[in-house]
């Protein structure tokens, strides 16, 4: 009884925090369809960088959407960027939308707990707690794998300006290390004033003006 009280209290606190965060968040709202349509508009306007950025954002909300994947591949091809197909593993773990997957993980934890406790009390029918533990574990693993697949996207950014120069130092007069094409996706490693240290897909690192990048997670 006491445990239930603690659980309810904690859930209430978390809900309150979430509500407070939402109230202080900017009024900008995102939907997968809205981002997808916006990306289409940019693609039609020839803005490959902004199109890729919004397709990537839409894919975060609807990972398995075939339209998003198809149009993103077309824009990449038009921008002469190498394709970035998801592997089979990624496709499987991204079959469930992240919002549902998160709650499925919570449910998985609950099922595991119920199974463990039931195995001690229900000594006669052991298959029921075992099934609960198995199902709960599967849900938790699915959620964790999806989080691992999506974790790089939390630090991803898209190059918005063609021939963006990656410099060896975070200064406008720094020497150019290499040049990035518009629409290329990079990983943000660090930030310093108006520059961001990025790592390209081929492993090269350099400092890029932040104004030339669009973070997938704004």
């Amino acid at each position: 009884m006491r445990a239930v009280k603690v659980l309810l209290l904690t859930l209430g606190l978390c809900a309150g925090w979430t509500l407070a965060t939402a109230l202080h968040a900017p009024e900008q709202r995102y939907s997968a369809d809205g981002l997808y349509n916006l990306a289409n508009a940019y693609a039609r306007a020839g803005k490959h960088g902004l199109a890729v950025l919004n397709y990537e954002r839409a894919a975060l909300l609807a990972p398995g959407d075939a339209d998003i994947d198809s149009n993103l591949a077309q824009v990449r091809a038009a921008a002469h960027l190498p394709p970035d197909p998801h592997g089979r593993f990624a496709r499987i773990v991204l079959a469930l939308p992240p919002s549902i997957s998160a709650w499925a993980g919570v449910m998985g934890i609950a099922l595991i707990g119920i199974g463990v406790l039931g195995a001690r009390t229900l000594s006669r029918s052991r298959w029921l707690p075992a099934s609960s533990i198995l199902l709960g574990t599967a849900l938790v693993v699915l959620t964790v794998c999806q989080a691992m697949v999506l974790w790089p996207q939390m630090h991803a950014a898209v190059v918005l300006v063609n021939e963006t120069q990656a410099r060896v130092s975070p200064a406008p007069m720094g020497d150019t290390a290499f040049v990035l094409a518009e629409g290329e996706t990079v990983t943000l490693s660090a930030q310093r004033e108006d520059f961001a240290l990025i790592r390209a897909r081929d492993g090269r690192s350099g400092w890029v003006a932040r104004a030339n990048l669009g973070a997938v997670i704004p």
Partner: protein
């Protein structure tokens, strides 16, 4: 043999003794000597020529500068040196006059001293090829006075010995502290006699900093039949404190010193070359220092009156201009502002403080570079490259940059100012990433149209939207839910694990009671039942087993407590009636005890 040689020597010496008065008398017949030369005789507009007035018979008083339309004259220095005549050094005094043309043409400069002829100077346009050469009709300078050993100061012969001279040319006007003063150092050495130069010319005072040109200008000059190598350093002199100074330049040399007696030298000079040189060939080199004649220099402090607040110590004449790398940028994109400061002066004191007032622009430390355009290093250009990032969008203005300096010519502080520059700053692409692109911004319409045909169609607008793109499991508030759930479940599991030994003890006690009932051992049955129930109740009520009595049982458990109390009484009776069999309802007591034990375990 020795007697014959002696007779021949006496004859030669006697003939020489007759010739010496003759040559001396010829020299005495010449009037006082002064002459002038102009070099170069053909210059381009923008260049300068130098008139050198040489006096061989004493210090030159101030001379009247000529007045020629299209030419300006300025005395840039006085010097004292040696003129080499017949292999002998004679003291000479010089006045150097800088001639600056203002127009093209062929000019005739009247003689500056008595009986000196006019000089010719041709000024041509800058793009005139240099293949054509106009030779100025210079009349040969009057023959210099013959050498008189009596007029040479003591020690001068050892230094010079017709071997080397050093000459310093500095302006005669007062200069200011910090000013870069152009200065010419001329060192002439006689190859063969001077074996090596052991260092660069250096000033004899530490109150100045001297910047020599990297390589001197070299020319071969024939001075009275003897070949000389003349090296000229166009240098810059910086004065660090005010006062009156006497400047001299010293140059370390290695020379072969002529150790012959005066008679032998006179005899050798009568015979002329090569006899005048032979005796010194075998002498080892000796290190000497040749110094120029001291020149007076007056250094003034910079005036305090009218000194601008932003004055940084620049002295000279400067011009300023600025430019930007692009007049159209996106907000956040860097652009480079270049500031050019050109002119004459001490560029090391031209600092970047003028960039301190660039409001509305984010600045980074500027880079600067200096390009010298003359060998002396006084004329040149300093370029500052200032990276700028616009803080706000729209039409922005880079304000005029101001720079103040002291002009030694006008003797007052002056200020140069660049023109303001307008820059159009557009909104950053990143900021507009969530806005629909405008109709007019489609630079790649062709390929975009082709791409648009292959795109899948838009989705119908859905109602669901989120405020945060991050999945729930990457948000801290949400992570509290699975964390709390995990903690609660783990607590329950731990509690269950702690209860497990109680259940096992109860099962063991029930098994012992069942075995005692089978064997009909009522004493063992009742004793085991009492011990198990006491332990279970003590664990449940967190009391020591000895404190659980009849009152406690009846108060806490009611009717069940009374039955348990009766079980305890039966157990006591069985203990005191050791070995006697009692009529015990095993199944009833077994059910009662099991019920209590299971209740306690749960």
């Amino acid at each position: 043999m020795r007697i014959r040689l002696w007779q021949w020597s006496r004859a030669v010496i006697g003939a020489g003794a007759l010739l010496v008065p003759i040559t001396h008398a010829k020299a005495l017949a010449n009037p006082a000597l002064a002459y002038e030369t102009v070099e170069p005789a053909r210059i381009k507009l923008g260049e300068t020529a130098t008139i050198r007035v040489t006096s061989l018979d004493g210090y030159l008083d101030d001379i009247q500068l000529p007045k020629v339309a299209g030419l300006t004259f300025e005395i840039v220095g006085r010097a004292q040196g040696l003129e080499f005549i017949n292999g002998q050094a004679s003291p000479a005094w010089y006045i150097l006059i800088r001639v600056t043309p203002q127009a093209l043409g062929l000019f005739s400069i009247p003689g500056l001293t008595a009986k000196s002829p006019a000089l010719g100077l041709e000024v041509v346009a800058e793009n005139t090829p240099s293949s054509f050469s106009w030779q100025v009709q210079k009349s040969a300078p009057p023959a210099p006075a013959p050498h008189s050993s009596a007029s040479i100061p003591k020690g001068a012969r050892l230094k010079a010995d017709a071997a080397a001279f050093v000459q310093l040319s500095i302006p005669t006007r007062p200069v200011y502290v910090g000013e870069n003063v152009p200065m010419d150092i001329e060192v002439g050495v006689r190859p063969g006699v001077v074996t090596s130069m052991n260092g660069l010319p250096a000033l004899n005072s530490s109150d100045f900093t001297l910047t020599l040109s990297k390589q001197p200008l070299r020319r071969d000059q024939n001075i009275d039949g003897n070949p000389f190598l003349v090296m000229t350093w166009h240098s810059a002199l910086t004065v660090v404190k005010p006062g009156n100074f006497s400047l001299s330049v010293e140059t370390p040399l290695s020379v072969r010193v002529d150790t012959r007696s005066a008679d032998d030298q006179a005899f050798g000079s009568i015979l002329g070359w090569p006899f005048s040189q032979i005796p010194s060939k075998g002498v080892p080199p000796k290190n000497i220092t040749v110094a120029s004649s001291p020149s007076e220099l007056k250094v003034l402090s910079l005036p305090a009156a009218g000194r601008p607040r932003d004055f940084g110590g620049a002295v000279g004449e400067f011009q300023a201009s600025s430019e930007v790398s692009s007049t159209r940028v996106a907000a956040g994109d860097p652009l480079t502002l270049k500031l050019h400061i050109s002119g004459i002066g001490n560029f090391d004191r031209v600092e970047s403080s003028m960039f301190d007032h660039l409001d509305h622009w984010k600045t980074y430390p500027p880079k600067s570079s200096v390009t010298r355009t003359d060998p002396g290093g006084t004329r040149g250009e300093k370029v500052f490259e200032q990276p700028l990032i616009a803080v706000s969008s729209g039409e922005q203005s880079i304000p005029p940059l101001e720079f103040s300096y002291f002009n030694p010519t006008t003797r007052r502080y002056e200020r140069v100012r660049t023109q303001p520059i307008q820059v159009m700053v557009s909104t950053s692409l990143a900021d507009s990433s969530l806005r629909a692109p405008s109709e007019g911004r489609a630079p790649e319409q062709g390929s975009a149209r082709q791409l648009a045909r292959g795109l899948r169609p838009d989705h119908s607008a859905a109602a669901g939207s989120v405020r945060d793109l991050r999945p729930l499991y990457f948000r801290l508030p949400f992570l509290g839910i699975p964390a709390t759930l995990t903690l609660v479940l783990a607590g329950l599991a731990v509690r269950s694990r702690r209860a497990r030994p109680t259940v096992k003890t109860a099962e063991r006690a029930l098994a012992q009671m069942s075995a005692a009932a089978h064997s009909g051992n009522s004493s063992l049955f009742l004793e085991t039942a009492r011990a198990a129930v006491l332990q279970a109740l003590a664990h449940r009520w967190r009391l020591p087993p000895e404190q659980i009595g009849s009152t406690e049982l009846r108060a806490r458990l009611g009717k069940t407590g009374a039955e348990i109390d009766r079980l305890f009484a039966l157990a006591d009776e069985a203990r005191y009636a050791a070995g006697e069999s009692q009529d015990t309802d095993y199944s009833y007591w077994l059910a009662l005890v099991r019920g209590e034990l299971v209740r306690g375990a749960s």
